[in-house]
Amino acid sequence: MIPYINCEETIAQLHEYLSGELDDELIAVIRNHLELCGPCEGTFAFETRFRAMIVTRCAEPAPEALRRRIAEQFRTA
């Protein structure tokens, strides 16, 4: 029997859940709530997509010249 937590308690764990900071027992409790609760499921789904959006928008390949300088630095250091 998985313990029930309410919406407020579920949302309070949102970021820690998304960051992989919760133990298995609490993850099961949260998942159980999300299966039963459309609004909380929607909130978690949005924040998941929001985080993915942030990651894709701020990629920044290092310039080739920097890569070469650092490789050169290793050779001469």
Binding site: R49, M53, I54, C58, A59, R69, Q73, A77
Partner: protein, 192 residues
């Protein structure tokens, strides 16, 4: 003991991630390049002291953030963090109706797809000084809270409070961009 030839092979794969973090912290390419180069040089020289099997990526980010704090932090001015207590949790999601037409998934797509690289980078770069490294390490780089505590030499409770407030600040700034866009309308409509 780890040897330096191995280091060169193993460490180069993290350069894009280190450079991206350096860009957000220093906000300009010349300083970001200097910071990454300094990070690799310090790491190379200190590699004898690095314990094999521990997390090389975390160790490089630790050197990067320390170098940043030592070299640049005093020069930077960022917005004050005091107003953040007033900011609503999960601001973007809760204000969706104000920000994007439609309902459900289509409104979410409209809102999320609308954020540009420039807006997201600016929103990160304008985070209050204290919060930026924690938010980058957690939400961009995916480090665990304990790894971040080790990288930044702060207690895990401090990591959590910086993340809590930093995430609110990030949503607040992006909310402002979305409101501006909504008020002015998409560029293609304005042009037609």
């Amino acid at each position: 003991v780890a040897d330096q030839a191995t280091f060169a092979d193993d460490a180069m794969q993290y350069m894009d991630a280190l450079y991206a973090a350096a860009m957000r912290m220093t906000r300009n390419p010349a300083d970001a390049e200097d910071l990454v180069q300094e990070t690799y040089l310090r790491a190379y020289r200190g590699y004898g002291g690095f314990e094999e099997g521990t997390n090389l990526r975390a160790w490089l980010f630790r050197i990067l953030t320390n170098a940043y704090i030592n070299r640049y932090r005093a020069r930077q001015r960022r917005p004050d963090e005091t107003e953040l207590d007033e900011v609503e949790e999960l601001l973007l999601y809760r204000r969706m109706a104000d920000l994007a037409p439609g309902i459900g998934r289509s409104a979410e797509d409209e809102l999320l797809d609308g954020f540009t690289e420039a807006e997201v980078k600016t929103a990160l770069e304008e985070l209050p000084e204290q919060f930026l490294p924690a938010v980058l390490l957690a939400d961009v780089e995916g480090f665990s809270y304990q790894e971040i505590a080790d990288i930044l030499d702060i207690p895990i409770g401090t990591v959590m409070s910086r993340l809590h407030r930093g995430r609110k600040a990030l949503q607040k700034r992006l909310y402002e961009f979305a409101v501006d866009r909504h008020l002015t309308g998409p560029a293609d409509e304005a042009a037609s």
